[in-house]
Each structure stands twice: as C-alpha cells, then as structure tokens.
Amino acid sequence: MEVGFVGLGAMGAPMVDRLIEAGHKLAVYARRIETAKHLLNRGVRLCASPAYLAASCEVVFLAVTGTADVEHLVCGDDGLLEGARAGLVIIDMSTIAPRRAQELAAQAQGLGVEMLDAPVSGGEIGARNGTLSIMVGGDAAVLERVRPLLNVLGKTIVHMGPAGSGQIAKACNQLVLVAAIEACAEAAMLAHAAGVDFARVREAMLAGSASSGALDAFGGRMATREFARGVEARLHHKDFALIADTAAQAWVPVPVSAAVQQQLNALMALKLGREDTSGLLKVLEATRADRS
C-alpha cells in the first residue's frame, strides 16, 4: 500500500526514513515544500495538498505539533477529509487534546474514514531506531490492519481503547516524564548547593531504585550542562496545558503536575522554550543569588 506522511520534524523525519528503508512507497505533503525536496531522489512523491495526499493513499501518518495543526490538516480547506476515499486510515502520532482526538475520529468516521490517535514516546533516538512506544486509541480491527506499518516505527504498540484513549495515555506519559525531569533538576540543585557533584549523584542513582529514563537522559544533560540538545521544552509546556485541561474536566487533582506546569511557564518566561527540558534546572537557578 502507498503510505502518506505529514510532518517532517525531529520525530517525523526519522520515521519517514524507516518507512522508506522498510520498502514502503511514500507520498509526502509539506507546508514548506523545500523541507521535503531531498526526499524526491529517494522515490518519495510530493503532494501539493493534504487532500491530494489523501486521495492517493490508503494510510496517512500525521506527526505535527499541536491540536490546531491536526485540525487544519484533517478538516481544513484542501484537508485530508476533502480528498479521502472511504477506507482511508489516518494515524495521528501528534500529541493533541484527547477530546478533540475523539471528535475528529467521529467526524472522519462519518465520511467512512478511520482515524487512530497514536502518540509516541521515546524521543528522536526511538524514532531513528524504530523503538518507539506507541499508544493507540481507536478501533482495534483498524489497528490490526496497520500494525505492520507501526511495527516499523515502534517496539511497543499498545491498544488503549476507543478514540482519544491513546492521547490520554500520552498525557499520563508526559505527566510522569516531566515530573521526573523536574525532580532531577531539584536534585541537581540541592546537590550543587550543598557542594556535591550531581554527576556522581546521578551515577549512583542510575544504579539504584531512583533510576529512570529521565534521570539518564535529562539528568545527564543537566550534569554536563548541555541544555541545547534534546527535546524542545516548549513542546512539554504545550503538553501540560492538555494535562491541566484534562484533569480539570475530569475533576482530578494533580498537585505535582500543576506545580511542574508553573515551572514550565517560568521556563517560557525565561525564553528557554527552544532548549531542552533539562532547562528546568535553569529555572531553579534563576532564584539563586550565587547563580552562574
């Protein structure tokens, strides 16, 4: 089957590479066409609009930034739903509001189009190595149809339930991840303030009960003060609005997430949104008289 793809960012680009390497025929739509030109000599077809892409594909992947981007691509003028034939499967790997994911899937279904929300965790490295964790919401039978494609991108593919439930899982993922990053930042700050080298603290912790992916990756960048590489913190900041909104709608108190969200807000105020989320350490440092 021909596979469509929209979103050639830090996550989307390596996913496209893997799909090509796995022998799939790809078609791509990019808002700025120049970002996709290099794919031409790898046999990828470039499409002038999402509608055109939908018309020629059986499956279309989306890996874009936010709810508004997905809405625009799916329902906008010249959007996927305008060009789609019945039976098209849209796999949205972006992180968006769970409720909107549900509504979009219902709208698509009215036109005979299946939509899965399939946000991922595992970062750029996971995307490159095909080891992503993929959290899928939507029809289980549709997931089985496209599972061979998802197997190219991820190692762990879990069906969460109906449309929107993949996004709920992603919200849980972000909540746990960024709270852990904030905890690393606080530990780094505390160690440093007491004159203890955080790199050594981290080394010991990684071998103990407090070991985590966050401590490994983000804690590592805090230890070496390499704040430029990694995940752009503005994306986590964006996700926390979804978490807060989901929690308030569900009447669930999330005291730690709420506190973490405010640290992310402060990070944005300090103009650190384009750097890695390990910059949460800099937010704590900004309160210190002896800051470097």
């Binding site: 900041h237 926390f240 609005a241 807060a244 909104d245 929690a247 308030a248 569900a250 009447w251 669930v252 108190p253 999330v254 005291p255 709420a258 506190a259 969200q261 405010q262 640290q263 807000n265 402060a266 990070l267 944005m268 105020a269 949104g273």
Partner: protein, 294 residues
C-alpha cells in the same frame, strides 16, 4: 434610565432588584421563566435578549461563561441583533460575568462592529454584596461609556473602579480570584490544623481577626466554616472555572503561578468529591477528608 438585565441567578437577581430600587426601569429576559417570578409587576418582561436590546439604554449581562455571554450578546436573538433592529447606535452592554480577558476583548470587538459599546465589569463581594448593593465592581472599557453607566453601577456596588481598557476588568477579577481562592484555602488549612491540635478554630479566628492576618475572607468565609454553613454564596464549581481561566492565561503568557495552580487542584478535588454545588468554604471538608476525619 431604561436598564436591561439578563442573568437572574444568585448574584443577578438581587443586583437587578437594586437597580429597580434606584428608580430605573427594568427590562428582563430569562431562559427559565421561574426566575422572573420575583419581578412580576415590577419590570417589563421580554421574549428575547434581542427585545431587551431594542428597549434599553444599558443592558447588563451576568451569566456563567464566555459562550453564554456570546450567545446572549451576539446570537441571532441576542442584544446586538435587537439594537440593530431598533436602529440604535448608543447602546452600552455591561457584562458582569467572569470570563477570560481575551474572550472579553473578542466579544467587545464584535459588539463594536454592531454599534454596541461593551464594558467588562465583573464583581466581587458574593451574594451578601449583591443583596446589600456593596459589590466591588472592576470595569474595563472606554471612559465616556463608563461615566454614562456609573449611576447604574453605583446602584449595585460601593466600590466601582475603571481599571483600564476593555478586558482590564476581567484581569482585575482574575487577580481577585487568585486572592479569594488562596484565601479560602489558607483559612481552611489553618482551621484544619487547629482542629488536629484539638484547638477550637472559632477562638483562633477571633484572635487572628485582631492581628496582621485579619482579612475579609477570614472574617466572612471563616465564620461560615465555623458554622459549617456550606450553602452558596459562591458555588465551588464557579471558583474552579475561574481558576482554570487564570491558569490558561498563565500558560498562554508563559507565567508561573505556583500558588494559584496548587489551589486550583483543591478546587478540582472538590468537584470530584461531590461539592460542586456547595460554597467554596466547603473546602474545609476536603481538608478534613484528607486528614482522615469524616
């Protein structure tokens, strides 16, 4: 003056009564006819918000949230449509609901296109303030319309302040909701601490009211907590909604509000605990529940 009033809830009903008492003619519309009963023979009842807009010099709205304001002001049967139908271009709409500042600015812009000037004028002071005409009213909008509306606003409030341009009233209200939300939580937390020590919170309150920690919230809300009077007042779901607005704005601006965020979680928990329709002072019960007291 001919004053339209839409939104005859806990706050709106006594506010409208105070306007009538000040000698203004009332024009009312209500979705639920039973809320009009107290005004029978004392006001002109209309079949739509549009008809209120055709007959009044100033229309006041005080409803739950931005979509409600939008429907009443800009809907097909809304105030702006009525003003247009009557060929009026000097109508003032005073929205006293609590909504997000950008929503207020958006609605004001669209009303201006229809020739209606909007003032955002949310209130503080609760039901007692509404009944006694002692509300604090925080106004955003242009000065001339503020001055024209001032006598009507003064019929409902004791402290009426023009804060700044359109939206500024809602910004002041957001600040107010941070202070009242955190204040209620602080009083509940302190009373729960006193209780855990076996100390009577009533005596604590009396003592603190003589010192630096005295406040309107310790006085009024504290009193209701001690009396275990959780009747609204101000329903906790509305406080939850208001803090959501505050925190959404904080997110949009990239601004850390750690205290408001923590307090908002207590309001989330109150909704899940079945206290949505009770006053915010019911937060005391949430603290008790989290302390193993039932």
């Amino acid at each position: 003056m001919e004053i339209g009033f839409i939104g005859l809830g806990i706050m709106g009903r006594p506010m409208a009564q105070n306007i009538a008492r000040a000698g203004h003619a009332l024009h009312l519309y209500a979705r639920r006819p039973e809320s009009l009963a107290p005004f029978e023979g004392k006001a002109t009842i209309h079949a739509s918000a549009a008809l209120v807009g055709s007959h009044a010099d100033i229309v006041i709205t005080i409803v739950a949230d931005a979509p409600d304001v939008e429907a009443v002001a800009l809907g097909p049967d809304g105030v702006a449509a009525g003003a247009r139908a009557a060929g009026r271009s000097d109508l003032i709409l005073i929205d006293m609901s609590t909504i997000a500042p950008p929503a207020a600015r958006g609605i004001a812009t669209r009303l201006a296109e229809a020739g209606v000037t909007m003032l955002d004028a949310p209130v503080s002071g609760g039901e007692p303030g509404a009944i006694h005409g002692t509300l604090t009213i925080m106004v955003g909008g242009p000065q001339p319309e503020f001055e024209r509306a001032l006598p009507v606003l003064q019929a409902m409030g004791r402290s009426v302040t023009l804060i700044g341009p359109t939206g500024a009233g809602q910004v002041a209200k957001a600040c107010n909701q941070i202070l009242t939300g955190a204040g209620v939580a602080a009083v509940a937390e302190a009373f729960n601490l006193a209780r855990a020590h076996g100390v009577d919170p009533a005596n604590v309150r009396t003592a603190l009211m003589g010192g630096m920690a005295r406040s309107a919230i310790l006085d009024n809300h504290g009193n209701r907590m001690i009396a275990r009077n959780f009747k609204p007042g101000f329903k906790s779901w509305m406080h939850q909604k208001d803090l959501r607005i505050v925190l959404e704005e904080a997110h949009r601006l990239g601004l850390g509000l750690p205290l408001a965020a923590a307090v908002a979680q207590m309001f989330n928990a109150m909704q899940g605990a079945g206290m949505a329709e009770e006053d915010s002072v019911a937060m005391l019960k949430l603290y008790e529940r989290l302390s193993g007291v039932e």
